[in-house]
Symmetry: C2
Subunit: 277 residues, 2 copies
């Protein structure tokens, strides 16, 4: 999917919501466990009930991996279902991969060829050759971790170098030498809305994938106020608050209601964009 296609989908749906498929076998409605593939069945119903309110889906790969082979089968069915029935939704493999060049090529092959995701999240720790293999695929995206939403982000991401530049700022600056905003996005945690102003100075054009709105305590209004650029430039993720809105047979309906709530709020924040069209 291209930068412009994603932008157009956001305008069409009046939403920059990404639904996180952090599907946990211990948290889905228990009655689903009687089915052959409870994880896929849950995802399918979540997708069908939320698709009109969001522009992206982000399976959290760890949740599938934790189930072994069975989990990978559920993941494969989920991404095939998305690509077949919702080809205009942007898909993110939230995998936080990254390794030396010849190994990163293998991760790119896994997620872009075997599983046909549009994008993958990547840890920048190992530097350039751990990221560039992901950039060799046309219309696929590398989503690089910059400032994450967890407590541990202060341990290394926020350490300043001799120029007073924090590690995550260095990541934002340096990686721009390797790809532009049409191939790269950044993960920037929503619990640090105040930092968005600064982030936008460094990466004015890039899409930012913002986790942490909802269960992790981020604030959608602040994120939108400081994070939005003139092509929106935001994908705001919500996982638990939407997919676990109910633990009963009405889970898909309740997920739909929660997703719509977020979409309605986003519609307000998008007003400036529409006014300029």
């Amino acid at each position: 999917m291209t930068y412009n296609e994603l932008y157009q989908e956001i305008l069409l749906k009046k939403s920059y919501l990404c639904v996180g498929l952090d599907t946990d076998i211990n948290k889905i409605p228990p009655y689903l466990l009687a089915l052959e593939d409870p994880i896929f069945e849950f995802n399918k119903q979540i997708i069908e009930s939320t698709a009109e309110y969001c522009v992206a889906y982000k399976p959290n790969i760890a949740f599938y991996e934790s189930l072994g082979i069975k989990g990978w089968i559920s993941l494969q069915k989920t991404i095939s279902f998305l690509n077949t029935h919702y080809p205009k939704h942007f898909t993110i493999a939230d995998a936080k991969r990254g390794d030396i060049g010849n190994t990163s090529y293998m991760y790119a092959k896994a997620f872009f060829e075997e599983f046909s995701f549009d994008s993958i999240t990547i840890s920048p720790y190992m530097g350039k050759d751990s990221i560039t293999p992901f950039l060799e695929y046309k219309n696929k995206w590398a989503i690089v971790l910059a400032l994450t939403s967890n407590e541990g982000s202060k341990d290394f991401e926020e350490i300043s170098d001799t120029n007073g530049q924090k590690l995550y700022e260095n990541v934002l600056k340096t990686t721009q030498n390797w790809a532009n905003h049409e191939q790269m996005m950044y993960v920037t945690g929503a619990t640090k809305a105040i930092e968005f102003k600064n982030i936008r100075k460094i990466v004015p054009k890039h899409f930012l994938l913002v986790p942490g709105v909802g269960a992790q305590g981020g604030n959608l209004e602040e994120v939108s106020k400081y994070g939005m650029n003139n092509h929106v430039g935001l994908l705001v993720n919500s996982s638990r608050a939407i997919i676990y809105a109910s633990n009963s047979s009405d889970f898909a309906l309740k997920a739909s209601i929660e997703a719509q709530k977020v979409q309605k709020e986003m519609e307000i924040y998008l007003e400036n964009i529409y006014n300029k069209l």
Copy 2:
């Protein structure tokens, strides 16, 4: 596996060699492709022919992941084969994982429970809560990336903070507050043997997993000279130079010869250790 068990195995085998199972379907002897599971068959023969010369095996998870479900099945068979027939060999899932706390728990579950590895490699970028979930498993190990062997290591790992401390040095220091040498190891690239002196000052007791000897150009003599501590404290990995020593039906024999060569060289470097016993 405990610290002392690993040390005893090294003494017994006179080897601190780790064989990297970077098994690439395009590089294994073509005649294996006629079999039902060529990747597993290759691994099985490599393991059987090298087990007496090494103390550890390190499947590079990307290579399996790149084959989709089939690859995960080959990985599962490989780790089961190791745990059944070679339970005293230390097993490393070279996966470079790491995410926010609740997600890292899932990765720990995947590799420690579903696949029963002894250890997993972890990217430290996201800080404490991305690493501590791996430490909750008894006799399992977190192997944290410090200084890697690739060109890109200079991009972020070697950046100095306001105290003149490089990021990888900070990682070595800070992570020691979270676990000691009986639960944590570090990845330190063999192409930087000169840095080992410095690394050993910061982490005198920890095992260091050293990739990059062989195809990546590292020097075993230097690594051993500067990296060894009084409990050896080294696992030196070689992948391509051993597993692809031949591309014909003699591949296992040739791998065995290469592994033995490395073991014989290691025996020389271990002399000081034996002299003190």
